[in-house]
């Protein structure tokens, strides 16, 4: 049986920050692979390097050394505009602070990645509506982002991350800014999306949130400490 090509392949990844001549090693020789359809939680205390890892996985930043291949593309070799395309086409971001455009309607927020990729406005509107219905916000299409609750804002962000049909959903502390009842709803959506075949990588420091994932990678002081299946799931 041939081995399946992984969606994410990280080999000997290191990231060193230089501030005023002092070197800080944020990631040290991290290697792992993630296959299509996995739901992975990356855990670690603050300062462990998990945010740095998330920036590199999200093609928002480049590593100092090592290799990162996403969906067959070597990310380390791309220029700024090509990285923009990768983020647009292959990655769906869900941020802790939702990061919706302020005073802009939910449908327009969801349409934004499609407009950057050149999809026609009319088509983008249809697709955005479809995904907003999927996350249960059919009654909030024309509300502006400051008129809806935190949980609803995060659902808008999820809809926005799905519209380009990305290879990878990348969530950075997705429940960090919402009340726990609503956090459960959000995790419910993630579980459902994962069942439908979406690959999800979630950064979190909350163990009970990480329990929703099928695999947990633990990072500490820039090193990969453990990588195991979550048996509770």
């Amino acid at each position: 049986m041939t081995k399946e090509t992984p969606i994410i392949s990280v080999k000997n990844l290191s990231k060193v920050y230089q501030t005023e001549g002092i070197e800080t090693v944020a990631l040290n020789n991290v290697s792992f692979e993630i296959n299509k359809g996995e739901f992975v939680a990356i855990m670690g205390p603050s300062g462990s390097g998990k945010s740095t890892l998330m920036h590199i996985l999200g093609a928002l930043d480049k590593s100092t050394s090592g290799e990162y291949i996403l969906g067959g593309t070597n990310i380390e070799k791309l220029d700024e505009d090509e990285l923009s395309d990768i983020r647009n086409q292959k990655i769906g971001f869900i941020f802790q602070a939702f990061n919706l455009l302020p005073r802009t309607t939910t449908i327009k927020n969801v349409m934004l990645p499609m407009l950057y990729s050149g999809i026609k406005k009319e088509d983008a509107e249809k697709i955005a509506t479809k995904f907003l219905i999927l996350v249960g916000l059919e009654n909030r299409l024309h509300h502006t982002s400051n008129q809806i609750s935190g949980g609803q804002q995060q659902r808008v962000a999820i809809a926005r991350s799905l519209v380009m049909n990305p290879d990878l959903l990348l969530a950075d502390e997705p429940t960090g800014n919402i009340a726990s009842a609503q956090a459960e709803e959000i995790m419910g959506i993630f579980t459902k999306l994962n069942k439908e075949g979406h690959t999800i990588v979630m950064i979190t420091h909350e163990p009970d949130i990480a329990q929703h994932a099928k695999r947990i990678i633990l990072i500490k002081d820039g090193h990969l400490v453990s990588d195991k299946k979550n048996n509770n799931c």
Binding site: L60, S84, D85, R87, N99, L101, L112, Y116
Partner: protein
């Protein structure tokens, strides 16, 4: 994202902050508005000066006495008396003069004029009958000064419409009435039509009396203030200046032309002097307005820089979602061009309105040149691009992680 989407998005972004957008464009509004208003007011005053100089008469040369040098001290132009009736007679009769059609010797002075309970201070012009055709003076009612008035030194006067309204009330026809100029009584024999003009050069605020009466009876002078010459046609103006110049040098026994005690000005000279003065003023004022436009542009840049800082997170998000450098540059450039373009549009309306109010208030011509409006549009857009460029560049070069982390 196509261009129309970009523009709609920028407009809605700018609408979110109406007060700030309004203040940002104020500088441009004032700059463009004053450029438009000043250019149009300048053009209109240039035109009114030209038309009033043209109404002085056509193919006109004016000889006036100029001061002679006394050692190193030179008196003011026209203060010395060097022109005489003999000079005028010589120009009229000399066989060397071939290009002159009419010669009008003139004596002018200011004097108090009284009738009944009214009085005024006005310009008294001692004139001969050819004065009227030479200076385009038309008599509305009554007659102008005749040869026999001139010969027999009669005390008759032809009044300009401003004098009539000052002394007798507007619209009255005081022919046959007596007026007192200085110590002498004159009979009004005619009223001229209005020529327009205002201030000290008002050509309607004048009284014409026979030259002989003015020189001998009223002011006691044997000199002339000036001699107006009507050349045969426009082409012979230069020849006329030369012929008269040599004749007068000979008459005044001056061998060096640089020491001439008279000057000959053509209407074209006066016209070009006047136009150059007004165009200098227009240029100067437009320059000041252009500086305010520059200041307006800097204001736009300032606001755009603040906007970029304020929207750092938004820029980071847009980049994370796939916006390229070019997209971000376009977004911010479109915003600043919309600002300056709107400012330009409002400025044009304001400038035209100001020019209109000015023309109504001074009853002058209302001219708006299409080229200056077009220029204003172009300039305001270019300002948007120039002053928006730096903030847009700064926005586009923000790193997405730095920008997302920014609080």
């Amino acid at each position: 994202m196509n261009f129309t989407d970009q523009v709609t998005e920028s407009v809605s972004t700018l609408k979110l902050n109406k007060l700030r957008s309004g203040l940002a464009i104020l500088g441009i509004v004032i700059g463009i508005g004053s450029v438009i208003a000043l250019i149009s007011i300048g053009k209109s005053s240039q035109q009114s000066i030209q038309s009033s100089i043209q109404s002085l008469g056509s193919n006109l040369l004016t000889i006036s006495s100029s001061s002679q040098r006394n050692g190193v001290v030179r008196g003011a132009q026209g203060t010395s008396n060097t022109l005489t009736n003999a000079d005028a007679e010589a120009i009229k009769t000399s066989p060397k003069i071939t290009t002159v059609k009419n010669v009008s010797p003139e004596y002018s002075s200011r004097s108090q004029v009284i009738t009944g309970s009214q009085n005024t201070n006005t310009t008294i012009i001692g004139a001969v009958p050819v004065y009227a055709p030479v200076h385009n003076v038309v008599v509305e009612s009554g007659n102008f000064i005749s040869e026999s008035d001139e010969r027999s030194m009669t005390k008759v006067a032809v009044l300009g419409p401003t004098v009539v309204s000052n002394l007798f009330g507007a619209g009255s026809v005081p022919i046959g009435e007596k007026i007192r100029i200085g110590s002498q009584y004159f009979t009004v024999i005619g009223i001229t039509t209005s020529k327009g003009g205002s201030g000290p050069s008002n050509q309607d605020d004048r009284i014409y009396i026979p030259l002989s009466t003015a020189q001998k009876l009223l002011f006691g002078s044997k000199y002339l203030s000036s001699i107006a010459i009507e050349a045969k046609d426009a082409d012979s103006m230069n020849d006329a200046v030369n012929e008269i110049g040599y004749l007068l040098l000979e008459m005044h026994k001056i061998s060096d032309p640089t020491k001439a005690d008279f000057s000959i000005m053509s209407q074209a000279d006066i016209l070009s002097t006047a136009s150059s003065i007004t165009s200098t003023f227009t240029t100067l004022l437009s320059g000041v307005a252009a500086i305010s436009l520059l200041v307006g542009g800097i204001g736009i840049m300032n606001i755009m820089l603040v906007t970029v800082t304020e929207r750092t997170r938004e820029i980071g998000l847009r980049k994370a979602l796939g916006a390229k450098k070019k997209t971000i540059i376009t977004q911010f450039l479109v915003e600043s061009v919309i600002l300056t373009f709107t400012g330009g549009l409002i400025g044009i309306v304001l400038g035209v309105l100001l020019a209109y109010i000015y023309s109504k208030a001074t009853s002058s011509l209302f001219i708006v040149s299409g080229s200056s409006v077009l220029l204003a549009f172009a300039v305001s857009s270019v300002i948007g691009i120039i002053f928006g460029w730096y903030p847009a560049r700064r926005a586009s070069s923000l790193q997405p992680i730095e920008a997302l982390r920014y609080e």
